[in-house]
Symmetry: C2
């Protein structure tokens, strides 16, 4: 193998294998596909990566990725400046934007607290969030973190550190997912949805 | 979505989504991962793609991908020049090399005949194979093509077109895969393995 596949291809397979969802086998397959379509795929992908690498920066305000700084979400007029949605990652920010259900600003933590992975408050973008709130003008902080132990630990940690009376700290509602089957739902969600049941009116 | 994700990132997601095994969702995840690890992953990957795009060429003899032309397999001393293994794709050449069971030269077709996909003999690297054999010095051509209808149709087509008496045309053996469970095997393979059973001696 090593003497019949050149080092340039080996290196490419190794790097593609670091992407989420890839193993050595699927990385080989993806690299072969790119090598087969050098004009249509490999070249444009190299250009797009170069451009992204050169232009994209972390937004200094919210932590989003964009080519402008502050990012286009932070700049967008018509959003409520007094409302901040705290998310774990940029992927969650994108998911919120796809849902078109939020018209405030964001704050990306860059992860959640995790004893197992050794991620403490200093590894996350928490100090900047507290500064944003302390600077004033914020009425509500929505902690839109995963409903996992780490996500909820992080939410509790942040809620504790935000200046109390100054700001209303909320979290996403729990319940039956829209379009979800009752009989496929886990017991915890079902129990929560039942406890938090609402009038039909 | 479109107004909050910049065009550079959109383009990157679109291109990554064209890789085998990726959908829009996993492409987004891979791109976010790259954007998060710009120094360690996005930059090196862009460099590796640029280098591959600039250096790698199709071997004019066998169709393999390499930075040298003819490729390093075609150049490697000690291989039997009289023995050619015909494979569908470079991935099959790599698989044969990993198995370390073949010491001849290769010929990559770049696909198989397929009525559904509209791939005829002219789309494949078949004429070059016939020229190689007609040039003389070849004793055996092993058709290592998939045991699918298209693979076997292609094998039969090539066998018909090679100069008859001049060269011995063979194909890979069918049978129980090494390490394979009998009770998980499909009926066709099992029937073939039984029909082609061999003495224990």
């Amino acid at each position: 193998m090593s003497d019949t596949i050149g080092p340039e291809i080996q290196r490419l397979i190794e790097l593609v294998g670091k992407l989420p969802g890839f193993g050595p086998r699927s990385a080989r397959r993806a690299v072969l596909h790119m090598l087969k379509k050098r004009e249509q795929l490999l070249g444009p992908l190299a250009d797009a990566l170069n451009e992204a690498g050169a232009k994209i920066v972390d937004c200094p305000v919210c932590g989003n990725y964009d080519t402008v700084s502050p990012c286009s979400v932070c700049r967008q007029p018509g959003r409520k400046d007094a409302l901040i949605c705290v998310v774990e990652d940029v992927s969650d920010l994108w998911a919120m934007e796809r849902a078109k259900a939020f018209d405030g600003r964001y704050h990306v933590l860059g992860g959640v607290l995790s004893a197992i992975d050794g991620i403490g408050p200093d590894e996350l973008n928490i100090a900047a969030l507290i500064s944003r709130v302390e600077a004033g003008g914020i009425e509500e902080v929505v902690l839109a973190l995963d409903a996992t132990t780490d996500g909820q630990t992080t939410a509790a940690y942040i809620a504790d550190r935000l200046p109390p009376s100054a700001v209303n700290v909320t979290r996403l509602a729990h319940g039956v997912p829209v379009g979800g089957d009752i009989d496929h739902l886990d017991d915890g969600t079902l129990a929560t949805a039942l406890r938090l049941r609402r009038g039909m009116g």
